[in-house]
């Protein structure tokens, strides 16, 4: 075969610019020409990996549906939660004040 110059605009291949991760993964992980490397890397089967990634994404969704939304009430993770934390503290303090005041009245002079 004669050497043909495929350079520059004559070989205009490029990856699509906006591509989703799954499309890229299914190509870079288990496609391409497989040449044995020196360092044995056991990349998961793409199916297992997809499931794992899907669980990762789905878990947030599922947990919300199941009402397991602890992070929404964790002040470190949510600004709404930090507002709630202040309101909670406020309420607790009021409650304790009420209790103290009523104890004070019951004891009487």
């Amino acid at each position: 075969m004669t050497d043909v110059d495929f350079r520059q605009d004559r070989y205009p291949v490029s990856g699509p610019q906006t591509t989703n991760l799954a499309d890229i993964l299914e190509r870079v992980l288990d496609k391409g020409i497989v040449i044995a490397g020196d360092i044995k890397i056991d990349l998961l089967d793409i199916e297992l990996l997809t499931i794992r990634l899907r669980l990762f994404v789905a878990s947030v969704d599922t947990a919300k549906k199941a009402g397991i939304d602890w992070w929404e009430n964790d002040p470190a993770l949510s600004s709404r939660a930090s507002r709630n934390a202040l309101q909670d503290e406020n309420r607790d303090l009021r409650q304790r004040l009420d209790e103290l005041e009523s104890n004070e009245e019951n004891r009487g002079p």
Binding site: Y11, V13, S14, G15, D23, K31, G32, I33, T50, D61
Partner: protein
């Protein structure tokens, strides 16, 4: 994270692609998979490997296992690999290697890759002037709106409402109709997928069916076809036209992605 036989200063060679008439201008600015060294060319004789020197300790199996469990890390590496491969292939004929092909240094990489020169040449010949196009077909489930009239309630003398006789049967019939409609629309979508695949195959040099992706739960569509095709560059316009024609003909949602470096069509080539 170091291994006993891989002190932190030991280098390994990461290979992205093997190409002919290497043109590095497109990759010189790309970060690749590490910030420690630039992406460079490694001459193999008639061909050239596109490589990067990395710290061996950061590219052990253990390190990759950790990356595979971390979506952000995995995405970063997958995109970095893909970016270099795409940039190289945009400038010269190139054979993509899968992510994480690593050697103990450049000499070992040259030795191992040179042995495969026949395969690389065969692949280059096959994908010459061809690109890969992904095509997905989606079924949109018909909306589960119930068209049957609402069950009539009668008021008993005690004032309590109770269903009309036969309401249970009507309910079951309605349920069965919904189920049948759903099955019909899935069947139609699968038939549309087969038709689309058959039509595009006639235009393509080769095709592969990939596993359909599960859709996010908010997306009610069902992916019924995830296929990829090796298409002659000169027929790219035809492919776009055909896709539109098939959209009109089947009413199915069809997504076309590409051009991709032909990752899916280099694995099975024999020299």
């Amino acid at each position: 994270m170091t291994e006993p036989d891989a002190p932190s200063d030991t280098q390994a060679t990461y290979v992205f692609a093997v190409c002919r008439n290497a043109d590095l201008s497109a990759v010189a600015e790309l970060p690749g998979v590490t910030v420690d060294a630039p992406v460079t060319a490694l001459p193999l004789g008639k061909l050239t490997a596109i490589v990067q020197s990395v710290r061996a300790a950061e590219f052990t199996d253990e390190a990759w296992q950790a990356r595979l469990s971390d979506q952000q890390a995995l995405e970063r590496y997958a995109r970095a690999h893909h970016e270099v491969v795409s940039a190289v292939a945009a400038r010269c004929p190139a054979v993509p290697l899968p992510m994480a092909t690593l050697y103990h240094g450049e000499d070992r990489a040259r030795e191992a890759l040179s042995q495969e020169e026949g395969r690389f040449e065969a692949v280059l010949k096959r994908i010459e002037r061809h690109t890969e196009w992904g095509l997905k077909v989606y079924a949109t489930p018909s909306s589960p709106v119930d068209t049957a009239p609402a069950p009539v309630h009668r008021v008993t003398p005690t004032g309590r409402s109770s269903p009309e006789p036969g309401a249970g049967l009507a309910y079951l019939n309605r349920k069965r109709d919904v189920q049948e409609r759903r099955e019909r629309s899935t069947d139609e979508a699968l038939r549309a997928a087969d038709l689309v695949d058959a039509e595009v195959c006639r235009l393509a040099a080769a095709s592969r069916r990939l596993r359909p992706h599960p859709q996010p739960s908010a997306d009610r569509r069902v992916q019924v076809l995830n296929a990829t095709y090796l298409v002659d560059e000169r027929r790219t316009g035809e492919l776009a036209l055909l896709t539109q024609t098939l959209r009109d003909r089947t009413g199915a949602q069809i997504e076309l992605s590409g051009p991709w470096v032909p990752y899916s069509f280099v694995g099975e080539v024999q020299p």
